[in-house]
Every structure is written in C-alpha cells, then in structure tokens.
C-alpha cells in the first residue's frame, strides 16, 4: 500500500521561507533529467582527439591566428567523423561561454549574456534568493526519510489518527510510519519509525502485537504508547490502561516483563529491557495534544522528539550537552519557539544557520 499522507503534501509548504519566490520545483527538474537520459547519445570522441580539438580552438581564438590556421583546422577536422565530432564538441563549449558573463564585484562567472549591470537586477535577485532552498526543504517536509512503503505514515509536524481493521484506534505522531500485518491468528503491526499510541480492541483469540526496533509489545485489550525516536536506538513503552507484555526481540522468549498501567519501560538497542518506572499519564501522552512534557529527560531525547516537528535539521554539535537533564513543557507545534525556550533555560546556545538548520552547542 502506498503511504496515505506523503503524496498529498504540497511541494513547497514550508512556513517562513522568503516571500514571493516562484518555485520551479525539483520534481520538474528531475523529470526532465529522466527524459533526457532516455535519449541515446553517441559515444564521445577520444580524449586525445578532443584535446587536440580544444588546442585548435584556443589557438584560433588567441588573437594571433592567421588564415592558414583556419584552413589547417578545417583539414584536421575533415580527417574522420571522430575528428569532426571532437571539433564540434570543442566549438560547442567555446560557443556556450557566449551566454555567460562575469559579475564585476566577485569576478565570478554567472549565467546570462554580457550586458551592463542594472540596479533592478540586483534588487530582483535579492528577492529570489530563497528559490533553491524552497524546493530542497520540500523534500524534508514530504518525509522522504521515512520508509516509503509503510501503510500509514506522517510528515513533519503531522499527527495521524485512524482505525485498524479490527477497530483498534491508532494515533501516529509526526514523522512516523506504521505497517499493518493482520492474519486470522494474530494482529501484527510494525512501528517502523516514530511514535504511536494504541487503543486496542479486545480480542482474546487474536493477540495484538507491535514490533518496534528491539522490542515486541503484546496486548489483549489495553491502551499504550510506543516511542522509537529516542537517541541510541532505544524504545520507550508506556501503558495507559491495563497491562502489556514487553518482550525483547533479541533474547529468549522467556525474557519478557509485564508492564502495568502508569508505568514506562525503556528497551535498549540490543533489546535489553530496563526497570519499570512509574510515570504520569498526562505527561507521557501529552504529545497527543501537541505538547511535550519532559521530566528529567535528556536533551538528546527531547531534541529527537522536537525534530519530528521541525521543518529542517537540528544538530547537537557538542556531545557534552547531549545528556543535560531537561524539565520543560514545550509546544511541539512551534518548534522554533520551543528551541528558544530550551536555550533560555539550559546552558546551551542555538545557532540558526537558516530556516532549515539549527545547531545546538554548549553556551
């Protein structure tokens, strides 16, 4: 099944980009490139012949060429079709440079024929500076980093709510992907990425199983949350109602724990199940209302949660700040402000390189 959400995202939907830019999006560019590749091209003339042809072109345009040089070049290129192709390629290169000009300020080459600079052009260009990135950023927004074959998926800042075939209710957090694999014997889903909250329809004959990284969570009738976005490949399981069985995918079947309501457990990347810790349901499930409640979480885990709402890329530059403990209530829907709030309360500095990249370092 194709993802339901990613296709519908308008191409350039990032807020805060520079205004008024007309977007020629990368998909057009890519399509045209594909079409070009379909048309077969004759093989290139050898480098040796091509070099000779280029030397001819240089000599003929040196300002010191005579008529006999042109005659000699005409004779040279008439020797074979490959000579002719080499000459044509060299002339083409030389000719193409006709359509370039040099920016007098930077001394660098730009597109467009030579002409006197005008004030209007610079003004126009300034307004257009955002064009390139508008399209680049859209890749991010369309969620290309998530498995494209997932049955359900969400993009940056999107939360998805839907019912599974048995009536189980799923709330999918931003940048998450879920695969469904139901059979008459069991209800299996895989959380490929991100975070999801399940309100499982009771069906004793068919256990409900969620696989996420190193953990498998089994429920009969219950509500629980799985978060696989944490740093270092850990998975967090929180139970809101009743209980679930948490099992490591890596260890023997007997290595499992039963987790009861109001408790949370962390499973390491290698499938090691940690101790159950009591946690407030309102805090653990706050993301369902667009909030992030961090109670003694590490900065890297908080940033991992924020990333899925951020149109761009947040980098933690100093490893020294990764493990900083964070107590905060953040609005996921305004990730920029949330970053600022973190910077105000922690010994960190947030450097924005543009709308798309934020770098966190020690203050």
């Amino acid at each position: 099944m194709r993802p339901t959400t990613t296709d519908k995202i308008p191409y350039c939907c990032i807020a805060g980009l520079r205004r008024n830019a007309v977007y020629i999006n990368d998909s057009t560019t890519e399509r045209l490139k594909r079409e070009l590749r379909m048309s077969p091209k004759p093989p290139y003339p050898s480098k040796v012949l091509s070099n000779e042809a280029l030397e001819w072109i240089v000599r003929l345009n040196s300002g010191a060429a005579h008529k006999r040089d042109r005659t000699a070049f005409a004779a040279w290129r008439a020797q074979s079709p490959e000579h002719e192709a080499a000459a044509a390629e060299a002339e083409g290169l030389w000719h193409d440079a006709e359509n370039l000009h040099v920016d007098p300020q930077s001394g660098l080459v730009r597109l467009g024929g030579r002409k006197k600079p005008r004030a209007s052009r610079r003004t126009v260009l300034r307004g257009l500076a955002g064009v390139g990135i508008g399209c680049a950023g859209a890749y991010w927004a369309s969620g290309v980093l998530r498995p494209m074959m997932a049955d359900h998926s969400t993009g940056v800042g999107q939360v998805g709510a839907f019912n599974l075939p048995d009536g189980t209710r799923v709330l999918l957090n931003a940048m998450s992907a879920l695969d469904i694999d139901y059979s008459p014997q069991r209800r299996r889903v895989a959380l490929l990425e991100g975070q999801a909250y399940f309100e499982v329809m009771r069906d004793i004959a068919r256990p409900f199983e969620v696989a996420a990284r190193g953990a498998t969570v089994t429920a009969l009738g219950t509500a629980f949350d799985i978060d696989s976005r944490l740093a270092s490949g850990r998975v967090s399981v929180f139970v809101a109602e009743n209980a679930v069985r948490v099992q490591s995918t890596f260890e023997r079947a007997s290595d499992s724990v039963t987790l009861s309501a109001g408790h949370r457990v962390l499973i390491s990347e290698t499938g090691r199940i940690g101790a159950a810790v009591a946690q407030d349901a309102a805090a653990a499930l706050a993301w369902r209302t667009g909030m992030l409640v961090a109670e003694g979480e590490t900065l890297e885990d908080v940033i991992a949660a924020l990333r899925t709402y951020y149109n761009g890329w947040i980098v933690i530059q100093d490893s020294s700040v990764r493990m900083l403990k964070v107590n905060a209530v953040l609005d996921l829907r305004t990730p920029q402000e949330s970053l600022d709030a973190l910077a105000a309360g922690l010994p960190i500095r947030v450097l924005r390189l543009s709308n798309l990249v934020a770098v966190i370092s020690a203050a």
Binding site: D26, A64, L100, V102, V109, G132, L145
Partner: protein, 172 residues
C-alpha cells in the same frame, strides 16, 4: 535508519560545512547563497541514503552533490530572470520552444558557469579575459604579468576541465 542519517550527516556537517559552503558560494558566484546550496546538497545525500544507496566516500559525494545543487540553483535562478527581468537578455537562452531542449541547454550553461567558477582564480581569469572580454592572449599575458604560453595553458586547461565534467554529468 533516520538516526544513522542524522549521525553521519552530522559528522559531515561538523567536519566540512565551512569548507563546502565556501566552495558552493564560489560556484554560484554569489556569497549569499552558499549556505542554501549546501543544504540542498545535504538533502540530496539524505535522500540517497534513505533510498538505501551506499555512499562510500561521503566527503567527495558531498562536494559533488554541492556542485550539482549549484548547477540546478544557477539554472533555476535563470528561469526566474525570464519572469522578472527583461527578456532581451535571455533571448540567447531561449533557443527553442521545446521545453526539454530548452531545459538541457539551460542546464548545460549553468553547469559551464559552475565549472568555470571551480577553476583556480588565475586560470579562470585568463579564460574570462580571453573568451568573455575578447582580449588576445598577448593582452591577457600583459595584464596578468604572465607569459603568452602560460595564458594558452590556462585557457586550454579551463576548456579541458569543463569538457571532462560536462561529459561526466551527461553520463550520470
């Protein structure tokens, strides 16, 4: 998987960001846009990696991606001009009404501009003075204080560089 991408993109970023931004800014001939070109390059890398394509030499790949992003940026900026600036300037670019041919032409010119900007300054300057400003080798040699044969070498080298990378781009 996303974590891995974040990690190795992060490593690339830490080690080469400044260098690649400077490179990209030079390629498009505009100091303001280097940052944006490079971000587009990062996203290309991330996309490629997400598609499961192994990237063996991330640094080399990053710089190649930056070059390609610079070409697309340059070509796209040119399209913008056709909407906003007088068209007379671009009549040379609109060689045909066939969108694919026009696209190819524009893409080739954009690549040529980027490749020339990639050249060492002395080499580019010699080429620009000779080809774009229409000065003879002797005049260029005099202006730059180098020998006539050096000018010839510079101009030839510039053309060979462009030829090699134009062919490479066509093959990809």
């Amino acid at each position: 998987m996303a974590d891995n991408i974040h990690k190795w993109l992060g490593d690339l970023f830490r080690h080469y960001h400044t260098e690649v931004v400077r490179y990209a800014a030079r390629l498009v001939g505009d100091r303001e846009n280097g940052e944006e070109i490079v971000q587009s390059a990062y996203l290309r890398l991330a996309r490629r990696s997400a598609e499961g394509i192994a990237i063996e030499h991330p640094k080399a790949y990053l710089f190649t991606a930056a070059r390609n992003a610079a070409v697309d940026f340059t070509a796209r900026r040119t399209i913008e001009w056709t909407y906003r600036v007088d068209v007379e300037d671009l009549s040379a670019l609109a060689v045909t009404a066939d969108p694919i041919v026009a696209f190819e032409h524009r893409q080739r010119l954009a690549r040529l501009a980027v490749l020339l900007n990639e050249l060492p300054t002395a080499c580019r300057t010699a080429f620009v003075m000779n080809r774009m400003e229409g000065r003879t080798h002797k005049e260029v040699a005099h202006a730059l204080g180098i020998s006539v044969s050096m000018v010839e070498k510079h101009v030839t080298r510039a053309l060979m560089h462009c030829r090699d990378l134009m062919r490479e781009a066509d093959d990809n």
